[in-house]
Symmetry: C2
Subunit: 134 residues, 2 copies
């Protein structure tokens, strides 16, 4: 995370705090979650600051944005080196990270066959987690 190297960015307390909030979150979180946590540190912070920071952070690949099915909110998480996929429980909405990414070979094959220049992917598994399927 080279926080001081963001294109067209100055140092910002709010943005740094947002990164810390994301860093201490285990699962992807919503903008509103970040906003509430940020208000604990800076009671006058505004939701627009959250969105504007997240936009810069995603543009700089520090943060990953995703939108899960049947929800209209975006989820944000720190773009850690370890590539992650999630299992999402359709009952309790828990997001459980999976260990491995099985798609690297697949991507290579598809690139070859189609001429697409694949730069990333998203895989989500849906179903019921062990506690919800009881």
């Amino acid at each position: 995370m080279d926080l001081n190297n963001l294109k067209g960015c100055r140092n910002s307390k709010n943005r740094n705090a947002i990164i810390e909030i994301l860093d201490s979150a285990i699962e992807p979180v919503t903008a509103d979650y970040i906003y509430k946590k940020l208000r604990e540190l800076n009671p006058t912070a505004s939701i627009s600051t959250v969105y504007r920071s997240l936009e810069k952070l995603t543009a700089n690949n520090i943060v990953t944005k995703s939108i899960i099915m049947d929800s209209n909110k975006a989820m944000y998480e720190l773009n850690r080196k370890t590539h992650k996929h999630y299992f999402i429980c359709t009952n309790c909405n828990k997001m459980v990270p999976l260990e491995n990414c099985p798609l690297e070979e697949l991507e290579k094959n598809i690139s070859k066959n189609t001429g697409f220049n694949i730069t990333g992917h998203k895989l989500e598994l849906y179903g019921k987690c062990s506690s919800c399927s009881k």
Copy 2:
């Protein structure tokens, strides 16, 4: 597509028209796209009818709803028997269906290892399509 077997549904011109619109669409489309097409047939149709129809259709597994990255709109497509995944161009937003689904074995393994009851998945590949990567 057993259109006459929808749970708690009567025959409806609008809903049938929506199915036809989805059927003639090659790619997943937005609710607004459907609304505009529907207005060509029924100029007084309303957007709420579109959403209400789509809700019933997804509940009955006639239609699949998905939300793609960096967009806040849902995309709808007819749930054809053939299981599909898409390559999505980050430049022109084109969605190109992929031929095979490579995840069936993977699901089995994860189910075994984690105890999750996996009922579905979503896989999207991102990058530049052949014309945009020129």
